[in-house]
């Protein structure tokens, strides 16, 4: 296998070396021609428009005959090439680019030379795998490098006649490291200890300590959650709750454990296809269950299933390949050599999962949280010991406890099924209310279906129901028109459902005809041609067997089984592949419209990216191709994301687009060197990569800027200084809570609802129930995320709504942000707690108290002038609170100190990573 890989790579390598060889006379397509084509030609001669039958997108197309009958480019003969003629034509109607300024003489000369040299084509840089042996450039003599990164950065700087900044002061570095690596600011003691430690290893020891912190994953999960479009709700009109927080926990744990990025990739995209997947492997696949689902009444499930699958294709390519596939849905890529068909070939990898926009979000994995898990295990083991040998499970194991419980109960004939766990339904079946724990039948002649139910021993089926109108149900086999095996009548059970929740469920038991084997069972709801909005609600089904084993056991055992049933598992939607015989066929959708199916396609990757050497590749093969050596983009795209997290922007600034319309890398060799190092030397370890970067002198620079640097490198793209960027929303909040002492550092678990203003209501009305106690002060990453109404203060600080995959958060600086920090009760509460702390500790020496605490923000001992401003604010407002403003607050000292701490939480230094 290895040698085959090498054989594949060799030609590229040879080409790459050939291209990068400095030959002044040889025109390089990528260096000299592509920029002209992209800027001046491609919008009319690309993938969408191919004016005159001429397209420059693919080499083969460009050299093919055009509408005129002959090719526009004749390699080796520029004078005979129509392309050149048209660029120089004297008639403005004929001269290209039409209606725009002509190309410059230099540009025309380049094109001429290029055609005469044979019109050699090159792939766009991003599709050529990075070279393996890039040696860092040598360093200008006077500079000292900490590692290879500095060689690349400093040599570029010296070409620009710029010198790097000296290192930042130790305290600033400590704050920078802590916020970048864990998202939590250092304590005063940590500043002190770090200053005291003058050993040469002090810095590295701190880096290692922070990377080992359990808070590491909580910080680094955020950017991936944006990519995964993770949210606690499904989106669209109803935007109902979705239980998928176990995915967020999986992610945090994966970062904490430094799961290698190749494994991390394969598990999220195809964890279900691993041999013997664990519960965690399945949870990882929830990555692609974060697509939106539409629960609005009257929607077409297939339309939204297809929309979700197409979205997965676009997201996968953006996340792992920095490639924009969304436009290829409708037509060939306008700028990059990716054909329309390529989208659907890629879609075929994802088109075979079992999920289909059902309300119940099947398929799911059922897990228990530690306490529940212990209980279930204990009960299950106990029951298993008591029962007859033929009913026993061979042993009770730790993994998949829920499945074991289901198997055991099934064996015992205790077969209760939640009504909402159907496998198919007609339109007008909805789930009720916030908990979505019962089904609601909105219109006559609706149905639900449960797949492959074994009815061999079953003599009756019971339904737990409630109804305002009464009605009928027919039980049929295999289809709604199939054999009727039973029917029953629902009584009117109530006059109304207060709070949209039936107070009582009644049981309807329907005897059924003896039936053999496993069948699909349909429940067909009717009401004599009288139509009703809310016909019947069903909570559960129970299959009554003739002589269930359970009937033979003692009341004690039955009671234990009941308690087992009461322990609710956490349900997480996951990916699951359809069985072979139900494989969906994938076709090209004309103009991206799912209703117009074109030619059928087989799964495959876009041609420009290579091929997968498998007869019938599946999702697993696709995931493995992503992390294989042949893939030119995966490592580059990921190192770029990590770089952006640490410096504020990527080496390729357009993180979502490495294609020809993206922004070219500022340091292409460094990008490639990092990519290869990440994959080969660091074995895909994200923590090692972060360490490598933060150990560099480049990272450690002071962030002050001189006028010269501001002029030559205004956005600090070349890193002539330490980066100075506004912190992400999560870090701003976590920092306020940490500094004020309110932060609850607890990790993992269901999402929490910290305070938000009461008047925010969603489509379904009030949805926010403020978490009580310590849960209100959890880290921001645990905040409940409702897509249609995302947490206001975080959106104000530029968090995306997580409706779609987002690679970059565009930082803004607005008055609404000022209002959040000034007046959001969360920040006021933090200010109050902090003020109380300061007053308690420094009652008699307010000025020192302000100075010491301001240091939590400034990192360095703050300048006297800054302390003086705040001290004055304290004194003046104290005086005001004691006189004119006496009505404002009964505790003038606390009120005055609160104004000071509130001001500190509004400083530029507070919101900025320096």
């Amino acid at each position: 296998m290895k040698s085959r890989n090498l054989l594949l790579v060799l030609p590229f390598l040879a080409l790459a070396i050939y291209w990068s060889w400095p030959k002044d006379d040889l025109i390089s397509y990528n260096r000299d021609i592509r920029p002209i084509v992209n800027q001046k030609c491609i919008s009319c001669h690309g993938g969408v428009k191919q004016s005159g039958g001429f397209s420059l997108l693919f080499e083969s197309d460009a050299k093919m005959p055009t509408e005129s009958g002959k090719p526009a480019i004749i390699p080796g003969d520029a004078d005979a090439s129509e392309m050149l003629t048209r660029l120089q034509h004297s008639d403005p109607e004929m001269r290209m680019p039409l209606g725009k300024n002509p190309l410059s003489e230099t540009e025309i000369k380049l094109i001429k030379k290029w055609i005469n040299q044979g019109a050699n084509w090159e792939k766009h840089w991003a599709y050529i795998p990075p070279e393996k042996d890039i040696s860092p450039p040598s360093l200008p003599r006077e500079l000292e490098a900490k590692n290879e990164i500095d060689h690349f950065i400093f040599s570029k700087l010296s070409q620009m006649d710029l010198a790097p900044n000296p290192p930042a002061p130790k305290e600033i570095l400590l704050r920078r490291l802590a916020l970048d690596i864990t998202g939590i600011p250092p304590t005063l003691k940590e500043y002190e200890d770090f200053l005291k430690d003058t050993s040469p290893e002090a810095y590295e020891k701190t880096v290692d300590r922070l990377l080992d912190s359990p808070h590491f994953g909580e910080k680094w999960a955020s950017f991936w959650l944006d990519l995964a479009r993770y949210a606690d709700s499904k989106g669209y009109e109803k935007d109902l709750h979705r239980e998928i927080w176990k995915y967020r926990d999986w992610l945090i744990e994966a970062f904490n454990q430094d799961m290698p990025y190749d494994e991390f990739t394969v598990k999220q995209l195809a964890g279900d296809l691993l041999p013997d997947p664990t519960e965690n492997d399945l949870l990882a696949t929830a990555f692609h269950r974060n697509t939106m689902a539409n629960d609005e009444g009257g929607t077409n499930d297939e339309e939204f299933r297809v929309a979700a699958v197409m979205e997965r294709v676009g997201t996968t390519f953006e996340v792992w390949q920095g490639t924009t596939m969304a436009c290829v849905q409708c037509h060939s890529h306008p700028y990059d050599p990716i054909r329309h068909e390529d989208f659907y070939k890629s879609m075929a990898f994802f088109n075979n999962t079992r999920d289909k926009d059902l309300y119940n979000e099947q398929p799911k994995v059922f897990t228990y949280e530690p306490t529940e898990k212990a209980k279930v295990r204990q009960l299950l083991t106990w029951v298993n010991e008591q029962i007859q040998p033929e009913d026993k499970l061979p042993q009770i194991t730790e993994a998949f406890l829920h499945r074991q419980k289901e198997t055991l109960l099934y064996k015992l004939g205790h077969r209760r099924v939640e009504a909402e766990e159907f496998q198919d339904k007609s339109r007008f079946i909805e789930l009720v209310g916030h908990d979505q724990a019962s089904i609601w039948q909105v219109q006559d002649s609706s149905w639900v279906m449960y797949e492959q139910v074994d009815l061999t021993e079953v003599e009756a089926i019971s339904l737990g129901y409630a109804s305002l109108t009464g009605g009928k149900v027919e039980i049929r086999l295999d289809s709604i028109l199939g054999t009727k095996i039973g029917e029953g009548t629902f009584e009117v059970t109530a006059k109304g459902f207060p709070g949209n929740r039936p107070e009582q469920w009644q049981t309807l038991t329907i005897p059924i005809q003896p039936t053999e084997a496993k069948r699909d069972v349909y429940y067909y709801f009717k009401k004599d041609r009288v139509f009703a909005q809310d016909l019947v609600r069903v909570d559960w089904l129970y299959y009554q067997e003739k002589s269930p084993e359970i009937a033979g056991y003692s009341a004690e055992i039955r009671a234990k089984i009941d308690s087992l049933q009461e322990i609710k598992p956490v349900q997480t939607p996951i990916l699951g592949e359809l069985p072979k015989d139900q494989t969906r066929k994938t076709a090209v959708f004309e103009r991206g419209d799912w209703r117009s199916r074109g030619k059928e396609v087989q799964a495959g990757i876009p041609e420009i990216m290579g091929t997968i050497n498998q007869a019938k590749p599946n999702r697993m093969d696709f995931a493995q191709w992503l992390v294989s050596e042949e893939n030119p983009l995966t490592a580059r795209v990921m190192v770029n994301r990590i770089w952006e997290q640490l410096f504020g922007f990527g080496l390729v600034e357009s993180m979502e687009d490495f294609g020809s319309q993206g922004i070219p890398p500022t340091h292409p060799e460094l990008l490639d060197w990092l990519a290869v190092t990440f994959r080969e030397d660091l074995n895909w370890s994200v923590k090692s990569l972060i360490k490598k970067i933060v150990m560099s002198s480049t990272y450690r620079q002071h962030s002050t800027v001189t006028e010269e640097k501001q002029n030559k490198d205004p956005y600090n793209k070349y890193l002539s200084r330490g980066s100075r960027t506004r912190l992400p929303a999560e870090t701003i909040r976590d920092q306020a809570l940490a500094i004020s002492g309110l932060l609850n550092p607890e990790s993992y678990g269901p999402s929490v609802m910290p305070f938000q203003p009461e008047h925010i209501i969603s489509f379904g009305g009030k949805f926010w129930n403020v978490s009580e106690g310590e849960d209100a002060y959890r880290r921001a990453v645990y905040t409940y995320w409702k897509r249609t109404h995302p947490y206001p203060s975080m959106v104000t600080f530029d968090n995306p709504s997580r409706e779609v995959c987002t690679s970059r958060r565009i930082r803004t600086n607005t008055p609404l942000q000022s209002l959040v920090l000034l007046n959001d009760p969360v920040y006021l509460e933090a200010a109050t707690a902090w003020a109380q702390k300061i007053l308690k500790e420094y009652k008699t020496d307010i000025k020192t108290g302000i100075e010491k605490n301001l240091q939590l923000i400034t990192a360095k001992v703050p300048e006297k002038e800054k302390v003086a401003v705040l001290h004055q604010l304290y004194q003046e407002s104290l005086a005001y609170y004691m006189q004119e403003g006496a009505d404002l607050d009964e505790d003038p000292e606390l009120a005055a100190m609160r104004l000071v701490s509130n001001a500190m939480l509004n400083l530029d230094e507070f919101v900025t990573r320096r």
């Binding site: 009109e237 306008p334 205004p714 969603s762 803004t812 209002l819 400083l907």
Partner: protein, 486 residues
């Protein structure tokens, strides 16, 4: 030069976001960003003007502002403007199969019955436009508006159709029309948000905040929802223990320290932050002032039929006028009570809809009159409509008792007024039962192209690069409806 002026100037020179908003700051967006950031007319410095030379709208705008009155849920054109005597004659008859084949509806199925108009129509004004007796006050204003009677859309469910109307796409993640407008033009008022959203009618609309979101545009362009209860803008008011005097003092302290930091670190972003705190402070006064309609004279309250203190449509109409008067670019009203399925008594297109119309009839007429008498109508584009229309068939799920219509995407009525839109014009015709447009059909993308045209934009050129492609409000469609423009 004061520190504020210096801040504006420096920001214009350095504008560090230019780096992140490559397209938007080197394009027309720069103007918008400048205005949004408090670099409005007064702040415009020589440096900024030079930077923007040759940018701005594509041609002279007719509209300075837009007021979009969205009747969320989809009001029935058949009970308001599109008078169909034939449908009346066919009332109660089964719908011919040919009309149902291959169609998708949210709730209709089988063979529904046709439902005649549930109210009476008459012709009004010089234009002799039909209006039903649900809208007696608006009927007096028909000579101010152009009707689009053969509108059609692509979506028949609320959330996607609302998104389609406001973002040009049925899926989430695209910028709304208001966001595009301020991305292109900025705001005229430096103390108020450029894009304000006001809701009435109860509950939140199906599409949620995404209907006024900024999509892939930077978040500064998203609509700011102003509320009637609680803070009009989130976190606008100070806590009870901090009054205006103290707030001023604390902002002064914050800015003083930030200024010291700027002198050391040299990062121009700090100057922007200083300016933003000043602006936030000004907004604390200007927003509540603008949102407080109590200072309107009694005759205005009477004219609109306001209900001070409530989230009423009438109040929102007064607010809309106040906002455009102050130079707010895009005012978006959502009135959420128009989904007339007839699933219960009073929920259909009969008495239920008559009641809904009562809530909007007088305020809309008043808004048009008021804008006109202040000379604002000439520069304000008023747009009225829903996300789709209703079927000529009765929705069968409710039986005979009620009078509901299902969602209908193939035909509905909208109207526009002001900003050089023709007065007293009717464009577009539907068939005899109001099921399809047969003449002068106009699509949602056409409407969007027309709104942008009034603001001075060629909808094909107002673009933003995202995911490798230049996106625009009208996707790859849209044609300006020149027939109604003068």
């Amino acid at each position: 030069m004061t520190i504020w002026e210096e801040a504006f100037l420096r920001k214009a020179q350095y504008n560090s976001r230019r780096h992140f908003l490559k397209k938007c700051t080197s394009g027309i967006g720069a103007l918008a960003l400048g205005s949004l950031m408090g670099c409005g007319r007064e702040g415009s410095s020589a440096a900024e003007t030079a930077f923007l030379a040759g940018q701005g709208p594509h041609f002279a705008p007719k509209a300075k502002s837009v007021i979009f009155l969205h009747m969320a849920g989809g009001p029935s054109h058949l009970e308001l403007f599109d008078y169909k005597p034939t449908l009346q004659k066919l009332n109660g008859q089964a719908t011919p199969a040919s009309l149902m084949e291959g169609k998708e509806f949210a709730f209709l199925k089988g063979t529904p019955k046709l439902l005649g108009p549930q109210t009476n129509f008459a012709q009004y004004g010089e234009s002799r436009a039909y209006v039903s007796d649900y809208l007696p006050e608006f009927a007096k204003m028909v000579d101010e508006v152009s009707f689009l009677k053969a509108m059609h859309t692509n979506e028949f469910n609320h959330a996607p159709a609302q998104l389609f109307m406001h973002t040009g796409s049925p899926r989430l993640g695209k910028p709304s029309m208001g966001a595009w407008s301020i991305y292109g033009l900025g705001s005229e008022n430096e103390d108020l948000p450029g894009y304000v959203v006001l809701n009435s009618g109860g509950g939140a609309i199906s599409a949620g905040k995404s209907a006024w979101g900024s999509g892939f545009l930077p978040t500064v362009y998203q609509g700011v929802q102003c509320r009637s209860q609680g803070d009009p803008v989130l976190f606008l008011s100070n806590p009870s223990s901090i009054d205006e005097h103290l707030r001023k003092k604390s902002i002064d302290a914050i800015n003083q320290i930030n200024q010291m930091e700027y002198e050391q670190a040299g990062d121009p972003e700090i100057l922007t932050r200083i300016a933003q705190y000043e602006l936030a402070f000004r907004m604390q006064t200007s927003v509540p002032e603008t949102m407080n309609i109590n200072d309107e004279p009694a005759h205005i309250h009477q004219m609109y039929g306001t209900e001070p203190g409530k989230a009423s449509f009438a109040n929102n109409c007064v607010l809309a006028r106040r906002l455009v008067e102050k130079g707010v670019r895009f005012v978006q009203l959502f009135d959420n009570r128009w989904d007339t399925h007839g699933v219960g008594a009073g929920n259909g297109v009969g008495e239920g809809m008559r009641r809904s119309c009562k809530a909007i009839d007088q305020p809309i007429a008043a808004l048009l009159k008021d804008l006109k008498q202040r000379g604002l109508l000439e520069q304000t584009l008023v747009v009225w409509g829903g996300e789709f229309g209703r079927t000529p068939m009765m929705e069968a799920r409710t039986g005979e008792g009620f009078d509901g219509r299902d969602h209908h995407l193939a035909a509905f009525t909208m109207w526009m007024a002001g900003a050089g839109v023709k007065k007293g014009k009717v464009h577009g015709v539907t068939d005899e039962i109001g099921y399809y447009g047969i003449e002068g059909q106009t699509h949602v993308h056409d409407l969007q192209a027309t709104i942008l045209e009034r603001l001075g934009f060629d909808h094909e050129k107002l673009t933003y690069e995202f995911q490798g492609r230049n996106f625009r409000l009208t996707d790859v469609h849209g044609k300006v409806i020149n027939e109604i423009l003068s």
